[in-house]
Assembly symmetry: C2
Homo-oligomer: 407 residues x 2
């Protein structure tokens, strides 16, 4: 007998006889969908107007990939699950480290809980950096497009991911990496019919192409075709994003960068402050580790007010918050956030020191995310809802919407 | 003998032997230029990188057409020139009225001052609503594309505007209205060689088309060709914008609207508050009088804190300021601003009551402006500058940049 509810992190999720597919489209600023609809590339998504459920939700700030993917699969903010960036200052270890090891995850996922309760669960991500976190303690299928040539039945729950997607191994810097996720997702639903499936793409295209441009429309068209096939196969489909995306340049396409470590080093002795950019990850070609969010560690608490005031006066800076303020406002874990949190304005990003950023990979004008300006994301479903609660919808309500509110 | 300097509103502008053309491109979000360059539509503007002066400036908030055009031609913020919207509550008259009568203008323009000092001055605007304000006390050429079939030598300084532009009278809702301004400007520079020329377009295209889409690129291509011709004719060319432009919709293209008068009427008795939308003008087809800025008059001062708190809690509202706070922050005239000033977030606009907005003209998903999110605009020139002062550049520094700082 299957249970009627599975409770994870304080929320009860209804068991569904119909498969639920949650798709997290990396960097899907709402206008990507809107412009693709206008240009005729997304007829299926357009058809949801009236027949489905169409909300706009707030993602987690910092509006980065890992914190938001983990919030979506746990249903809670980073203050609970602990993942507040791709990269952080590990105070215990005394080192700047990637936060993609499952040891940093402080709570279980909806995916693992359903699998434990007997559901068949499948996860496909674009990049491998997310796989370990999303697949934490998950009994089921879990693999990345990036390492799809290395899957094993024992480790990933499938023996032949390339055959499943019907594609050769895609480059980690390509639209094909996401196409692989879509193809594998559709094939998995056909072949394995999981009860719960989570698909997560990469924002390689969104970092390079603005809404409504040919490459962006082609990508959204590919998404539209995938969602339509999942729908035709009888799944409940919920589609959201980890974060939005904005131009971060001037009119000539030159990036607007505040090199915050350089500024701090000019004001204080070198070493007195440490700027951490949680967007940092091993894949920097498309954004040069430049986003609109940073956190700063100060060597002396007494520096705080002076540093706050100086940083707030820099052109392009939107917000400077103390750790306490930032963790309250953005629901972040205090032990993994610096003394100050800095958010840049919509068209500006924050760097550390000029010499530490390799911008040679930026072959297109910089587009990025991380700030409050990238907080609004779509939250769409292919089925109507009964009267929805009036609340601030979050992208991490995706499973709640899909399992508890749709007709 | 020509004077060496002309002083207007406290700033001295150097007399130039070379013609200066200031072009205000309505609604030119920086990414319109950036995307057009990427797509190969703006080679001349692209060539300014390295050879010209390329700044990003802040426009006046409310980021609307009239306040910004008047700031550009007076060199000062609305607190000095008085024009803080297209539309306002005239407390003396006890009526909501258009603010496009020159009687509302509180200071002289750079244009009129140079004409008085003996310069030949020409002004071409797209819409006629700006002509009276820009041409206030101006001895020179001044006409609008909209009424270009009605010009007279006595009134407008030219006898045949249609012949000058080489075009038929364009529709007020068209890209051709701006094309007319460009053509007339180039022809005027060739034929009349004014010392100072001001060209101001309309944002009809920008309200309908996102940066990088075909119609937007075509428009920027037209702008690029016009600027190149002005440059080839030997003018100093400074190009800026009155405001930026953002999508104001969800992923399905449905407008995100806060109907503020409806909300207030639900909280207080009808008539206790009056919401004024300074974007309101006779031309509503492309934006339905919906922008990201509103001001509210309260019948009783004691309501203020309660109203402020309630409005600030509405989803999509970014800022609620008292009159004093707003006038200090945005440099606005206190006697023409309501008790509260409300700014919406980037993807949201503010309406009065649902029944008062005719959205039938919105044939494309709403794009609009008015908020802080549309404050960043290009400020570009075709000549290099000597060491520029480090300051917050404003779009209303355009004449200062063109006359006082370029080599």
């Amino acid at each position: 007998m299957t249970p009627k509810f599975v409770t994870v992190n304080g929320r009860a999720y209804r068991w569904s006889e119909r498969p639920l597919v949650v798709v997290c489209v990396d960097g899907c600023e709402p206008d990507y969908v809107n412009q693709a609809i206008e240009a005729g590339f997304a007829p299926w998504i357009a058809s949801l107007n009236g027949s489905g459920t169409c909300l706009t939700a707030d993602c987690v700030v910092p509006s980065f990939t890992n914190p938001n993917n983990l919030s979506i699969v746990t249903g809670v903010p980073p203050s609970v699950h602990g993942i507040c960036g791709n990269y952080f200052w590990d105070a215990e270890a005394g080192a700047e480290v990637m936060m993609n090891d499952a040891k940093y995850l402080r709570t279980g996922t909806i995916l693992a809980a359903f699998a434990n309760a007997g559901a068949k669960v499948a996860v496909v991500t674009a990049k491998d950096k997310l796989r370990a976190l999303l697949g934490h303690r998950l009994k089921g299928i879990c693999f990345s497009a990036e390492k799809s040539d290395q899957v094993t039945l024992a480790e990933n729950g499938v023996a032949d991911a390339l055959g499943l997607a019907g594609m050769a191994l895609p480059s980690v810097y390509s639209a094909a990496l996401s196409e692989f996720v879509f193809n594998a997702g559709v094939a998995l639903l056909e072949r394995e019919r999981p009860d719960i499936m989570y698909l997560s793409t990469t924002d390689y295209v969104q970092h390079k192409h603005a809404p409504g441009t040919p490459a962006a429309n082609a990508f959204t068209g590919m998404l539209d075709a995938c969602l339509r096939r999942l729908d035709m196969l009888g799944a409940t489909v919920v589609f959201t994003a980890d974060h939005g995306m904005n131009a971060k340049t001037d009119a000539l396409g030159r990036p607007n960068i505040v090199f915050l470590q350089d500024a701090l080093d000019a004001w204080y002795v070198a070493g007195a402050t440490r700027v951490i950019l949680p967007i940092t990850d091993p894949y920097v070609v498309h954004h040069g580790a430049l986003g609109s969010y940073a956190t700063v560690y100060l060597s002396m608490p007494a520096m705080r007010d002076d540093a706050l005031r100086r940083i707030a006066a820099i052109s392009g800076i939107e917000l400077v918050l103390t750790r306490t303020e930032a963790c309250a406002r953005f629901e972040l874990p205090e032990d993994r956030v610096g003394d100050l949190v800095i958010v840049a304005e919509r068209l500006t990003v924050i760097g550390t020191s000029r010499h530490r950023h390799d911008l040679s990979g930026l072959t297109a004008p910089l587009r990025s995310h991380g700030g409050v300006s990238e907080q609004r994301v779509p939250l769409l479903a292919n089925r109507p809802a009964d009267a929805l609660p009036s609340r601030r919808w979050r992208n991490f309500d995706a499973f709640d919407l899909g399992l508890n509110h749709l007709r």
